[in-house]
Structure formats: C-alpha cells, structure tokens
Amino acid sequence: MNLFLILSVLVLIAISLWQITKIFELSQAKKINTQVADDEDNNLNGKLMFVFLIFIYGITIFSFWAYGDVLLPDAASEHGSDYDNLMWISFAIIFFVQTITQALLHYFSYKYRGAKGKKALFYADNDKLEMLWTIIPVITLAGLILYGLYTWTDIMTVEENDEALVVELYAQQFNWKARYAGEDGVLGDANVRFLQDFDGKNLVGIDATDPNGFDDVVVQELHLPVGREVIFKMRSQDVLHSAYMPHFRAQMNCVPGMITEFAFTPNITSEEMRQDPEVVAKVKKINKIRAEKSKELVASGDVALDPYEFDFLLLCNKICGASHYNMQMKIIVETEKEFENWMSSQQTFAEVIQ
C-alpha cells in the first residue's frame, strides 16, 4: 500500500513538473512578462481546467477505493442505523451535487476559454432560472432538516427509567473513570471538593454524607450489558473533555461544574464485533503494520509489539492538554450475565473507604 502511495505521488509530481516545464517553454518563446492572458494561455489553461475536473473525480474515486474501508466504522448501538441512514442519504445528495456542479464549473471554464474575436453573451439575469435553483435547495434542505431533527430528538431525549443502567463518565487530565450507580440505581452526590477525602481513595469525589453513594462502584474500564439502555452522566474535574464513542455514534462534552447527559443502547457485544468482517479486516491490516514495526524493533534489540485485538473505545475529543492524544478508555460490551459477574467482583464505595 505504502509503495503504491509513494509511486502514485511520484507520478503526480512528475506529471505536474512536466506541465510546469511545458508552461515555461511556452513562456520562453514569447518573453512577455505580463499577466494578461493571450490565446495560447487561454487554450492551455482551459484544457488544464478540464484535466483538473478529471483530477477531482480521480482523487474522489481513488480515496474511496484506497480508504473507503475506514469510513464510518460499523455501528454498535441501536440508534446507530438511524444515524448511518441519515449519513448515507446526505452523502448521496452531496455527491450528486458535487459531481454535477464541479463538472459544469470546469467544463464551462474549458469550453468557453477565451479567444481573440470571440464575443461573450450579454446575459445578466433570468428570474426563472434563479428561482429554480433557490427552490430546489429549499426543498432538499427542508427534507434533510426534518429528517435530521426527527432523528436528533429521538437520540437526545433521555428519559430516566428503571430499566436503564446509569453510568457516570468522569474525565480528568488524562484518563477516564466510570461510576455505576449500584443496587439502588441512584448515583450518590459528588463534587470535586470531596476528592481529597479518605486519603485520595475517593477517586471521583463522592459525597460520603449521601447514603445513595455507598453502593456506587468506580472503575477504570467501562463494561456495558448488551441490549440495555445506558444513561451516561458526564462530569469533568479540571478542563473540558469530550466523551467520544465512535462505534456507538455517541459524543458529549464533559464540563467542569455541570453534568451532561447522553444515552444509547449497545446492540452488539465486543466478542460479536470482533467477528464482524469489517473489523476482522481492520485488525488484520493493523496487525500487519504492527508486525512490520515489530521487526524493526526486534532488529534494534527492543521487544516486539503484542498483536492488536479489537475493543470499543471511549476517546477524549476536546483538546485538554499535553496527553490529550492518549486519553482513552476501553469499553467492553458483554451479555447481561457476564456483566453481572463482573459487577459483583467490583468494590463498592463503602468497601473502598473502609
């Protein structure tokens, strides 16, 4: 792949260099140092405009062919398919408009390139035409807006209910913690002022005077049961962070002094996701890269890298300082039973502070 890339870039550079020399040759013949375009300039640049149109199409096709596999990873939440539908519909419209308008723009630039004695058409206005291209965008956008708003309300309406699992995501420079509400289903009050209580064992600042907090469980790895709604309550202790979970089509900022919310229902376990053909291909690709790196490492006396295994990730997506690029948490989606097992092996807040 890399070799192909380098080759194609070299070819591109070669072509452009050739074009540049051609232009210079033309210029040398005339030795006129001015910007006014003559027939030869118009002819050459008009044709280049057409070539450029092909280039735009070319880079589009190339990008889809070479990088299409990284576009929008397969969704792992219930609203994911709604999101993806809206995305692909919008994309279809965009591509249609892009293809047509770029074609017109560059084709006209080529077709109507200037020449001596040619006369342009005096054509200043056409109300009908302008109405047409005002109304078509209006209708298209009205459709997109309505569809978008419908989906948005659907995703963003968070209703507290007994079934849902309530999880607090807690951000700090530069790591994530998660707090589960425990058996009572209610998160205990918390504030950064309590962080120093209990010799720093109070990792997310739970208020020890609130009885709801005693059965809360604080962990460094996010486990979620499949098929059950999860309501996230986000907090941050220092600067803005953003909890970004691309596979679940979920993102919400974590704001100091405020609790933000986002909810989704994971609909595929990590184990199942690892069998997904797209994920299998990705893992294979990454492991190939890692194997190459390992070879170099071993050659220079270092330890080889472990093979990569797919996991869902929670990434920080709001600039938060030096290690912003390395602030992530593993998300494990598992069956309800596995989740219960895992949960029962965790210490509650009451146990931690004893």
């Binding site: 870039v9 550079i13 232009i23 990284v70 704001v255 690029y325």
Partner: protein
C-alpha cells in the same frame, strides 16, 4: 454626497510636502495602508503556513525525529522529537494567525482599504487618521502575537478557540501562562483595530460615493466589504467581552467561566461559572468570522469572474441579496459549534434549522458564478484561475457543511478531521484563493507593475492539485473517527491503519508549501522589476482603473469621475468595445439594464 466630494477635493487641492515617515510609515493614504496590510498579512501568512508544515511532518512520521524541529523549536524539540505541548501550540497559533491575521486583516484590510475609495469614487477613507491607527494597532497585535512565540513556557496552546478552563489555568498546560496572556492582549488590540477599520469602511461606503454611484450600482466587491464590516462591528465586540472576562478569570480570580475545579492536587476556589457561556460568546463572533473571512473573497471573485468572463455577473440582485442573507444568518448559527457542548438539545434543533438555511444563499452564489462563466470569453489569467478555484473549493467544502450543520450527524464527526477538512476547504483555501486572486488582479493598481503570469500559472496549478490532495483524503480519517488536535494517532493501535493517508496528506502539504515560494518570489520580484502596467490592463469597468497608474493623494487629478451605469456592462450589445466603464455616460437611446 456631492458636498462631501467637493469638500474632500478642496482638502487635497493644496497639499503638504510628504516626508519618508508620513509617506511610507505613518501614512494616512488608503493605498499605502492597504499595502502595509498586505505585506504584514503575507509575513504572518509565512509563519502560519510554516507552522502547519511542521505539525504535518509530525503527524505523518510521528516516531521519527526531525533535525528541522530542533533547529526551529530548540529546547521544545530535544533531539528533534517534538514535545506534545509544542504540537498543540503550533496548531493553536497556526489557526489564530491564519484566521485573524492573514484572512481577516490581510484580506479584508488590504482590499477594503485599496478598493473602497477607488471603486466608489472617493478621495480617501472617511477618516485617514483612524485608518492609520487601525493599521498600527493591527501591526502592534501582530508583533505581540509573534513575541508570544518566544516566552519561556511557550505560546498559547489551548486551540485557536481557547476554551476555558484549559486556557484559564496555568496549571492545565504550560501554554496557559504568559503565552496565553499575550495571546489575549494581542487579540484585544486586534479587535480594536478591526473595529476602527470596519467603522471607517461603513462610513466611507455610506457617505463618500461619487455622483451617480447609487447602492445598486456598487460593484459586488464593495457590497461584500461593506456587509463584512457590518458583521465585524456586530460580532467582534462580543469576542472582546469574552476575552476581557477570561482575563478577569485568569488574573483577578473571578468565576465567569470556571466552577468546581480540582487540578494538580488542589481544589480551586472558582464557583458558579460556566465554560459553556464562554463557548456562546466565542462563537457569537467565531461563526460570523467565517463570513468575515469568506465574503470579501467572494466579492473579489465576483469582480474578477465578471471582468475576465467579459460578461455581466449573473443575477446581480440575487448576489447582493445572498450576501445580505448570509450576513444575517451568520449571526444566528453559532450554536452549531456547540451541539454536543451540553446545551439543551432543543437549542441544537434551532441551530440546525438556521444553519442549513445558510446553504440556500450559498447555493445561489455558486450557481450564479457558474452561469456567469457560461458562454463567456474567459480570459484565464492567474487571478481568474484562482477565482474559479475558489468556486470549486467553496462547493466541495460547503457541501460537507450539510453534514456538520445537521446536529444528528455532527455527533460522530464533531471535532474530528472531517471538520478540519470541511473548514479548511470552505473558508481556509477559498479565502486564500480570494486573497491570491485579489493580489494578481490588483497588483498593477497597487504597485504599478504586472506580476509574471507564468509563475502565476505554476503557483495556481500546483496549489490547486495540492489543496485537494491535502484535504480530500482528510475527510476519510475524520469519518474513521480520528479526533483533531491529536499529537499522534499511533499512541494506541486503533488508528494505526490511517498512517498511509497521513503520509499522503503531508507530502501534498509540503509540495503546496513549496508552491507558495513561487508566489512569494513572483510578488517581491515583480514589485521592483515587473513590467510596467497600462492604466486599465484587464479592460475593466470599475472606477479604480480610471485613476492614474502613479499613486497620488486624492486618487484622481481633477474631478472625480461621475458614474452613469452599473459595473457589469461587459459585451453589451450595441457597444464597440466589450466593456463600458462606469463613468461613460449612456449612449443616446441606450437603456441602463434594470437590475
């Protein structure tokens, strides 16, 4: 109007002898001030673009040390390995410089100053003194911004949006110390400069138009500059207040934007403030800022496309209406930067609605440009190529705005490289193309000489290919979920497969950077050795080409030309030439186009 014109004529009739200082440094002449803006803006542009090349190197080969890092960054890149804090600083200052110093002051400052008096038929700006102060405040703010690069702990590094608490707390990152203070001071001065400039532009356009220059006869450039100035006056003060409140939080212990913070093992006293408030204030300017950058570029493009297509701009009225619509809508869409900031989702719905509406006037503009080319006699000089290029990137970048402006879709691509690709194409590259187009087109007016067109062609074609080469693949790594402002994407394996795309992007970026050197050489060389220009090299209709090549105070010897027609009588049937300048009276029996 006529009295004002008469008055200024008298002013310039008997004139004091100029010294070097009053002519070249503390000049009150709009043409000189425009050159000062351009050269300062280009200088800042060199810094801004060079920074982007440095962090592109880092992104493409994250594990590789580069000697150039150590040379340029010194102790911030020991053994050629860039420090993550410095990476963030480079990204921050690149954004700040390009958005404000190059594409706001460099673009608007240069061409509003040059063209407003010349195209409306005025002797100078309404207030030459304020104009001079405006430039020198801009210069001062540039100097402070550049100085901030040399402070011990490094310049501001919280992103160009400098969201608190990161920007407010020196404990949060080294760049939030002295570097951030200087950033804020520099921006406060910059805003003062921008406001003085904008007020001057507004007053000049309203009061100093020559006889016959009604608002409906104004060239679209002037419409664009005029409306841009209004947006600036409406929105820049809000950024100033955000900056002042942030300075208070940083230095005087207030809590406008801060609350409940625990950092470096200690609980801070701040209580009750909200970073979301800052985001609202910032984006109340931040979004209109996009149009402050873009509208002048579109105005310049309108003028250049019509002139070089030898055709009237298609749909003049619709073009003006869409400038006004964009300006109005631009002030009520800022919330689309904040869909996932924690604000009420209902607000998100409202902002989705207003945001997608803005696509309508934008589409009208794009279609009108394309129709202007149809059946033209296109003179494809470098300025024209950059203008066509602008329309191309404006469409490509604008279309992805439909995805980002939709609150639902924004959830997964917010703050990823998809956004970076989108705004670089639609406002960065487009506005830069506008700047280049303007320089190529009005260079003869500014310096009395022509630039070399062949170097201009090389500059355009290499830049055009590279702009797509850099930003088109970037959409893909964004859709893959890679967040922006990551020092490297290889800290954990998940994004390892994006490495080859990053290499491709960087190669294109480096070639694009090299192409700008061609422009720079052409610019400097032509300034001194370019071929001397004729008065109206493009056979253009607007008034600036009726003024003599040699610059003079008051722009025209004798009377200011009166205006008898709109600016777009190109290839009008019944005329001998394919252009009829605005000051030529209507022929007997000729009707002015009802536009």
């Amino acid at each position: 109007m006529s009295t004002a014109a008469a008055h200024t004529e008298e002013d310039h009739g008997h004139h004091h002898k100029e010294t070097f200082v009053t002519k070249y440094i503390f000049s009150q002449d709009h043409k000189m001030i425009s050159k000062q803006y351009l050269i300062t803006g280009l200088f800042m542009g060199i810094i801004g673009i060079a920074m982007s090349l440095l962090f592109r190197l880092q992104l493409a080969w994250p594990e590789q040390p580069f000697g150039i890092f150590e040379v340029l960054l010194g102790k911030w890149a020991p053994d050629g390995v860039m420090d993550p804090n410095v990476y963030l600083a480079l990204v921050t200052i690149h954004g700040t410089i390009m958005v404000f110093f190059v594409l706001t002051a460099g673009l608007s400052g240069t061409f509003s100053n040059l063209l407003i008096p010349l195209q409306i038929g005025a002797r100078d700006m309404a207030s030459g003194l304020l104009n001079m102060i405006s430039f020198w405040l801009f210069f001062l703010s540039s100097v402070i911004m550049v100085l901030s690069l040399f402070v011990e702990a490094g310049p501001a590094a919280a992103g160009w949006t400098i969201y608190p608490p990161l920007s407010a707390l020196p404990q949060a990152q080294p760049g939030s110390g002295t570097g951030m203070t200087l950033w804020l001071v520099s921006m406060a001065i910059f805003i003062a400069s921008s406001l003085l400039g904008s007020l001057n532009y507004i007053v000049t356009v309203i009061n100093l138009r020559t006889k016959g220059m009604s608002m409906t006869r104004l060239p679209l450039t002037i419409w664009a500059f005029f409306v841009t100035a209004i947006i600036g006056v409406v929105s820049f003060p809000v950024l100033l207040s955000a900056a002042l409140l942030l300075i208070m939080d940083r230095s005087f212990g207030t809590s406008f934007f801060l609350s409940d913070i625990f950092i470096q093992g200690e609980v801070l006293h701040y209580q009750g403030g909200s970073p979301v408030l800052y985001e609202h204030l910032f984006w109340f300017l931040g979004h209109p800022e996009v149009y402050i950058v873009l509208l002048p570029a579109l105005g310049i493009t309108s003028e250049i496309i019509a002139t070089n297509a030898r055709k009237p701009i298609f749909g003049y009225r619709a073009m003006v209406a869409s400038i006004l619509a964009i300006a109005f809508l631009s002030t009520i869409v800022w919330g689309h930067h904040m869909f996932i900031s924690g604000m009420n989702p209902f607000l998100g719905s409202v902002f989705t609605f207003t945001t997608l509406l803005i696509a309508i006037p934008s589409a009208v503009k794009a279609f009108n440009y394309i129709t202007t080319l149809w059946k033209g006699n296109l003179q494809l000089n470098p300025a024209m190529l950059f203008s066509i290029g602008l329309v191309s990137t404006f469409i490509t970048g604008g279309l992805t705005g439909i995805i980002l402006g939709d609150s639902t879709l924004d959830i997964n691509v917010h703050d990823t490289y998809f956004v970076v690709a989108h705004f670089h194409l639609v406002m960065g590259i487009s506005a830069l193309y506008g700047l280049f187009a303007g320089v190529y087109h009005w260079f003869p007016k500014m310096f009395g000489r022509m630039m070399n067109k062949n170097l201009g062609y090389v500059h355009f074609w290499v830049t055009a290919v590279c702009a797509y080469g850099v930003f088109f693949p970037m959409h893909f790594i964004g859709m893959a979920g890679l967040p922006r402002r990551y020092y490297t994407n290889t800290a954990f394996p998940y994004f390892d497969d994006l490495a080859d795309i990053n290499v491709l992007i960087t190669v294109f970026a480096l070639v694009a950077g090299a192409a700008q050197l061609v422009f720079l050489y052409n610019f400097i060389h032509s300034m001194f050795y370019g071929k001397e220009t004729v008065q109206n090299p493009w056979r253009s209709n607007t008034l600036e080409w009726t003024a003599p090549v040699e610059h003079m105070h008051g722009n025209w010897p004798g009377e200011i030309p009166h205006v008898h027609r709109w600016a777009y009588d190109y290839s009008k049937p019944g005329q001998d030439d394919d252009f009829v300048p605005q000051h030529i009276p209507l022929k007997k029996g000729e009707e002015e186009l009802q536009h």
